[in-house]
Structures are given as structure tokens and as C-alpha cells.
């Protein structure tokens, strides 16, 4: 998920609080934070269902916007030539060449936004989009 922080929340130790007080595991995949400006953190969060739920309630109470990751991967499917260069680097299996049709299939739910496909695609059809949009 992408956490979008308003400028006032930048100084708050959000990840520390999530880990220590809500007992959830945080894996930071990417960060785009500047003092005095809205910032973004791309994280993976896991833990007991109840803890995760309370952690999300806490984030919302801090005016932090939570966006599921799938909204932030843009793939220009219509221009794809089904070469397979992206599937080659996709650990999570979100990008796979179908063994029968040999077409590239993108399953956004499996995407962990590691960004390797962005550089691997020879036609630059992938875009990772952080932020409010």
C-alpha cells in the first residue's frame, strides 16, 4: 500500500509507532519524503488481522491516506508485444507469459511494486505512480 502523508505528519515517527504499538511487520519498499511537503511511503504491512486493522485506524486518525498498491502500477497493455522481458524479472508472478496463448498476462493483485519490470520492458510500458492521483 502507499501511505500519503500530509506535510504536518512528516515529523511523526509513524513506522516506529506501527511496529512498536500495533505489532505489525513493516517492509518499506520505497520512500519519497521531503520536510514541509506531502510525502509517500510504499510499504508492505502484515500481522494479525486485528493488529493490522487497528494500525490502519491509527493511520487514518493521523490524516494519512492509504492507497492499495494496484492503483499505482500503470501498464499500457494495448502496446504490449508479448516479448516476455518483464516476466523474466517478475518474482511475484504478477507478470507471466501464458503457456498456451504466449500472451503476457498481468495480475495486479500479485504485484509487489518492486519496479524491475519498469526497466526491463523494452517499450517502457510500465509506470510506477506514487502520490495522490
Amino acid at each position: 500500500m502507499v501511505l500519503t502523508f500530509p506535510a504536518e505528519a512528516i515529523d511523526e515517527p509513524i513506522t516506529y509507532t506501527l511496529i512498536k504499538e500495533y505489532d505489525v511487520m513493516i517492509n518499506i519498499l520505497n520512500a519519497d519524503i521531503t520536510h514541509g511537503r506531502e510525502g509517500n511511503l510504499l510499504i508492505e504491512m502484515s500481522g494479525r488481522e486485528m493488529d493490522v486493522h487497528e494500525a490502519l485506524v491509527y493511520l487514518e486518525s493521523k490524516q494519512i491516506e492509504i492507497s492499495p498498491v494496484i492503483k499505482n502500477i500503470l501498464f499500457n497493455e494495448s502496446r504490449c508485444i508479448h516479448c516476455g522481458a518483464c516476466a523474466s524479472v517478475c518474482f511475484s508472478g504478477a507478470l507471466e507469459i501464458d503457456t498456451t496463448s504466449r500472451e503476457l498476462k498481468f495480475n495486479p493483485e500479485k504485484c509487489i511494486a518492486c519496479e524491475l519490470c519498469i526497466k526491463a520492458c523494452p517499450l517502457q510500458l510500465f509506470e510506477l505512480n506514487f502520490g495522490v492521483n
Binding site: H82, C83, G84, A85, T99, K119, P122
Partner: protein, 363 residues
């Protein structure tokens, strides 16, 4: 009867070579892969007053001008000096699409070509010739690439993940033109082909053409062997079959779509076109080692499953060659041949029977 190479490979499971030789007249093949050694000759016509172009760029990409006054060669892999991800391949694709391209050219000027500078736009309709000429295309097999080093490598075989993280290959396997006629009996200078969406021709053997590279038990080369130099009218091509590409931290390249019909002359030819992915082997080269040693061999059937076993490790595989598009090309060509619109003929000249490769030594 006209079939694609994939269909005849399937047919080969239940029919003998003799039966196939009797029933099948032509087999069509196809490939759609990055082929770096490609480019387009253009003639932009004469301005008034005329210029004998000495230095030129198209959309900022340098083009070769050492060919008389207004003949230029756009090399696919030449990149824009300030943008590594934009190059000759992109200019070629834009010209094929009919998009305007900016021409800036300079010259010292001569008595008969007094103009020293020109700044204008050109497109597919207002230039004279637009001839694709690719010195090296359609490799007959190519080694699979892996990377045993600790760092990711960015190569023309794509991104190679460290510690044998992935294995990339780049042919269309049983659909591949030169793997269906491995001894090049029916393919040579003058062979009519599908090139970039239109009809083209094989103009010469390609650069780095190599025989004697070692074959497997089915008589098919296991490493990069023969290549083709191809020619065609780029004005009639389609960007569905010519695509500019950029490989991160490697450079600009271009995907070229090629299809070649193979006449099933006799039983020997039939046994060749029946070749299946499980009968075509490729060497595996380790790009992580500076010597690029061969560390194994694998069949295309195994590669296409998406995972292979190497040194007791399971490795994900992927192709850089689009099998999906190769099928489309073979199918299109099948229709053209079957309906009598695409004719086959004997090559005007056969390819070299035996050829070795030189290396570039420091002399």
C-alpha cells in the same frame, strides 16, 4: 497444403517425414525479436539551392551521411546524444508510421552544392526512397543468457538477475526460420520473405554468418550460426512488425518481424520442418563470467515451460522474442502463400557452405 512450422511439428508426432513430404507443400516460419544490426537508407531529395549533406541528425539522432549528397542511413542503435532511450530505431518507427521527423543538416558547401545548412521536416510521403537494409537479422539459434555474478547485468539479452536469478532466451524455437532449414537448402540470396509487414528479400548472408557451430542429434545448430542480410521497402512496412526498443543500461534496439516460407521439396526437407521445441537445443552462456563460458544445454520445450533446472537450482526463464507475434507472422504468411499472393522461388545464389568467424585482436 500450406502449414505453419508449429502445425507441421505437431503433425510430425503422428505422420512420417515421407507422408508430410507428400501432403505438405510449404511451411511458413516467423520470428519477432530484437535485431540490433538494422537500419534504413533514405533519400530526402534535393533542396533549392541544393546541399551535399556532411553532418545530419533526424530528431536529434545522428545519421550516416557519407553517401553522396542526400542519401542517409539511419542506424537503429544510434542514440540521441542527450537521451539514451531514444535512437535511430525510434526515428525509423516514426517514419514508418508517417510521422514528421526533423532534419537538421550541415555542409561546407561546394560550387555545385552551395547550401551549407538546412532545417526542415521529412516524412514517409515526401521523401524518395525509404529502404530497410539490415546487415544481420534472424540468427539461427542463440545461446541462453544467465548471470552467476552478484550484481544484476543489463544486456542485449535483457536484465540478467544475479546468482542465476533468471535465464533469458531469444528465438522463436520451432517457428524460427533458419532452424526449420538448418542446412539452408531453400534459403539464400534472393529468397522472398515477409519483412516488417510487407514483402522483402534476403540480399546477402548476414554479417557474422557462421557454419560449423556444432549441431545436436537432430542436426540443428546449438549456438549462434547463420544470419541473414535483408532488404525491403520500409514505406510499405507496419509498426506492428517494426518496433523501436530500449534495453535499460544497454541501449536502443529494434524488433523486426521476419517470416520465411519453406518449400517441402522432399523427404529430407520434411524431416527438417518437423523439428519440435523438444528437439532444438541451445547452449547456456554465463554472462556473469567475463569468458562467457557455456555452462549447460537446454531444449526450447524446457525453456518455454517457464522454469528450468540448472546446477540443482530452479531458474525462471523468459523469452525476449515474442512467440505470440511470431505465430501471427507465420499465420499471415500461410494465408498469403495459400491464396497465391506470395510466391516462392529458388535462391538466386546459395549461402557459403563453410564460413568461420574472425575476432578483433589488438594488432
Amino acid at each position: 497444403m500450406v502449414l505453419t512450422a508449429e502445425e507441421v511439428s505437431e503433425m510430425g508426432k503422428t505422420h512420417s517425414a515421407r507422408e508430410i513430404a507428400r501432403k505438405v507443400d510449404v511451411v511458413t516460419t516467423g520470428t519477432f525479436s530484437p535485431m540490433c544490426s538494422s537500419g534504413v537508407f533514405i533519400n530526402v531529395g534535393h533542396a533549392d539551392p541544393p546541399i551535399r549533406i556532411e553532418k545530419a541528425t533526424l530528431n536529434g539522432v545522428p545519421v550516416f551521411t557519407g553517401l553522396a549528397a542526400v542519401d542517409l542511413y539511419i542506424g537503429a542503435t544510434e542514440n540521441h546524444p542527450e537521451n539514451p532511450a531514444y535512437g535511430g530505431a525510434h526515428v525509423i518507427e516514426e517514419l514508418i508510421k508517417g510521422i514528421d521527423v526533423e532534419l537538421i543538416a550541415h555542409a561546407k558547401g561546394t560550387d555545385c552544392y552551395p547550401r551549407k545548412d538546412i532545417h526542415t521536416t521529412i516524412n514517409r510521403s515526401n521523401i524518395n526512397e525509404m529502404i530497410m537494409f539490415n546487415p544481420r537479422n534472424a540468427y539461427q539459434n542463440y545461446p541462453v543468457a544467465v548471470n552467476s555474478s552478484k550484481k544484476i547485468m543489463y544486456t542485449y539479452m535483457g536484465s540478467l538477475l544475479p546468482k542465476l536469478g533468471n535465464a533469458n532466451y531469444c528465438t522463436s524455437g520451432e517457428l524460427s526460420p533458419l532452424l526449420n532449414d538448418p542446412r539452408l537448402r531453400t534459403i539464400g540470396v534472393g529468397t522472398r520473405i515477409f519483412l516488417g509487414g510487407t514483402t522483402g528479400y534476403i540480399s546477402w548472408h548476414g554479417t557474422q554468418f557462421l557454419t560449423d557451430t556444432g549441431t545436436n542429434e537432430h542436426g540443428v545448430p546449438v549456438s549462434n550460426a547463420a544470419t541473414l542480410a535483408v532488404i525491403g521497402n520500409a514505406k510499405a512496412m507496419s509498426s506492428d512488425f517494426i518496433k523501436a526498443a530500449y534495453f535499460e543500461k544497454y541501449g536502443v534496439s529494434i524488433f523486426i518481424g521476419i517470416g520465411i516460407p519453406i518449400p517441402v521439396l522432399d523427404e529430407e526437407m520434411a524431416s527438417r520442418v518437423m523439428i519440435r521445441n523438444d528437439q532444438i537445443t541451445a547452449c547456456i552462456e554465463d554472462y556473469g563470467d567475463p569468458d562467457k563460458p557455456v555452462i549447460g544445454r537446454i531444449t526450447y520445450a524446457e525453456l518455454q515451460t517457464g522454469e528450468i533446472s540448472l546446477n540443482q537450482k530452479k531458474i525462471r526463464t523468459a523469452s525476449l522474442s515474442s512467440f505470440y507475434k511470431a505465430r501471427i507472422i507465420a499465420d499471415l504468411l500461410k494465408k498469403e502463400v495459400a491464396e497465391g499472393r506470395f510466391l516462392l522461388s529458388e535462391p538466386v545464389e546459395k549461402f557459403p557452405h563453410s564460413k568461420e568467424l574472425n575476432t578483433l585482436d589488438i594488432r
